[in-house]
């Protein structure tokens, strides 16, 4: 049985093409996904991301617990509302999930995790909490918030559009810096996203989701599906869990070293494994140079240092050529020329450092 978000009927009424995404019945596009992509880069688009799971961590001791559970250092969060991107790791360093954690109060942290991994994540966190109860007494409580829907509005006009249609939202969110969030009654506004554009992600009670969606649509915010979400995040150089990293690889081999705190003396789950084994592979960007197809996941990439593989590939509407993330041997560097196997051809591609595009502009030549 496929799960549905509170906006399912709204998508269907709008003529969306629906697909299964991790067990959820989700819109992949409402027409041209390239036009949806450009709407976000140039104006404003919105995504139903209600399938992602909000999990609150309530009660004293949340910071101590997250110091241990997350690879990034939650002590970077000192100002209430500040958000942090982090991986959740296994003891062997494999990536269980990537998530965003908001610090709201010392007794209230909010996590946002991926849809397909949410149940697994919660089980893992509860197991870590149970182990800590035995060792050091009472622990905070995990509260999955399946009562909340989430809408991401993204693009240079996205914030102003929300302020236009949601009374009180401007007063609540006008001062938010990027990667900050604020509570607004029983809703929450975060200046975050997955597109490389400015915008908000708004969490609100499920019963109010359709009204907000329709109001934004009425204000000219274009509904966008998972198709555009994927091309936007890939252009922005952002990983997709399950594709660019999973439990079989560690964050250092996934372009996520910047999110792993190995510098502080703090210990965390997976740290010992990361310290013990320097990475042999790296996640890099590719731009297809030759004509002859589109870069796709699992295509082999031949380099002077050995063979690697594309983890995500697509056609970039902003660059008007094909781009990819690829896991390649250490030693391959930006500017290198590599060959990608596409059907019966070996096409030339150039190694680049992501992101490929952000804030409406191409960032690679």
């Amino acid at each position: 049985m496929q799960r549905q978000t509170p906006l399912n009927a709204v998508h269907r009424a709008a003529g969306a093409r629906m697909v299964d995404f991790g067990g959820w019945d989700m819109p992949v596009n409402y027409g041209s996904q390239i036009e949806e992509h450009h709407a976000v880069r140039n104006a404003a688009g919105m995504f139903d991301v209600s399938h992602m799971r909000v999990v609150d961590l309530e009660g004293p001791g949340g910071r101590d617990f997250l110091r241990c559970a997350l690879a990034n250092n939650v002590d970077k969060l000192r100002v209430p509302g500040k958000a942090l991107y982090s991986c959740l790791l296994r003891e062997d360093g494999g990536v269980i999930d990537d998530l965003i954690v908001y610090f709201l109060r010392e007794d209230f942290f909010r996590l946002v995790v991926n849809a397909g991994t949410a149940d697994k994540d919660i089980a893992w966190l509860r197991q870590l909490l149970a182990a800590r109860v035995a060792a050091s007494g009472p622990q905070p409580t995990l509260v999955p918030r399946e009562d909340l829907a989430m809408i991401a509005m993204q693009g240079p006009q996205a914030r102003a559009k929300l302020w236009q249609v949601l009374p009180g939202s401007q007063a609540c969110s006008a001062a938010l810096q990027p990667f900050m969030g604020a509570v607004m009654g029983d809703a929450f506004i975060g200046r975050t996203g997955y597109t490389g554009e400015d915008g908000f992600e708004v969490m609100l009670p499920a019963a109010r989701a359709a009204a907000l969606w329709n109001a934004l649509a009425g204000a000219g915010v274009r509904p966008c599906g998972l198709g555009a979400r994927d091309t936007l995040r890939l252009e922005a150089g952002m990983n997709l869990y399950g594709q660019d990293m999973d439990e079989t690889v560690n964050p250092l081999e996934s372009g996520l070293a910047w999110t792993v705190d190995l510098a502080s003396p703090r210990d965390f789950v997976g740290k010992a494994a990361l310290v013990a084994a320097p990475p042999a592979r790296q996640l890099t960007g590719l731009v297809l140079v030759d004509k002859g197809g589109v870069l796709r996941a699992h295509q082999a990439v031949h380099t002077a240092q050995g063979t690697g593989e594309i983890t995500s590939g697509t056609f970039s509407p902003t660059l008007n050529q094909s781009i990819a993330l690829a896991r390649l041997p250490i030693g391959v560097a930006p500017g290198d020329s590599v060959r990608v196997a596409i059907r019966d051809k070996q096409l030339a591609a150039r190694v680049v450092k992501p992101p490929f595009a952000r804030h409406g502009k191409a960032l690679v030549p």
Partner: protein, 127 residues
């Protein structure tokens, strides 16, 4: 979905048009272009290539995925729509105008054995 009555179809979503000169013109259906989404690359067979019925002989790639195109019938490739190299989106705009290639059929009667519009509509659940 648009399924013109004057064309023949395959279950793999190609359309076939009988031309007066004895050749057939081949493209993908409106249903196919809609399912694939925005096309960004089209790879066509070489002129003069002989293809068997149901042989994969072209590729269309959308932003989402690559998809093989199958020869609806046996024959020789006598023309390809080279304009699609620069404008693959023409297939999304009008799937029945933006043809892919033309065949000289090995058996002139083969076209009549393909699906008619009503039978094709039934396969895509629109009858």
């Amino acid at each position: 979905m648009n399924v013109p009555a004057n064309l023949r179809y395959t279950a793999s979503h190609e359309w076939v048009k009988n031309e007066d000169d004895g050749t057939v013109t081949i493209g993908i259906t409106d249903h196919a272009q809609s399912a694939l989404g925005d096309l960004v690359y089209v790879e066509l067979p070489a002129l003069g290539r002989t293809v068997a019925a149901a042989e994969a002989c072209a590729v269309v790639e959308s932003v989402k995925a690559a998809s093989d195109i199958y020869a609806p019938l046996a024959g020789e490739v006598v023309a390809i729509n080279e304009a699609l190299a620069a404008t693959p989106e023409a297939v999304n705009e009008d799937a029945y105008a933006a043809w892919l290639f033309k065949l000289k059929p090995a058996d002139a009667a083969a076209v009549g054995k393909l699906l008619d519009a009503a039978a094709y509509e039934a396969t895509i659940g629109e009858a």
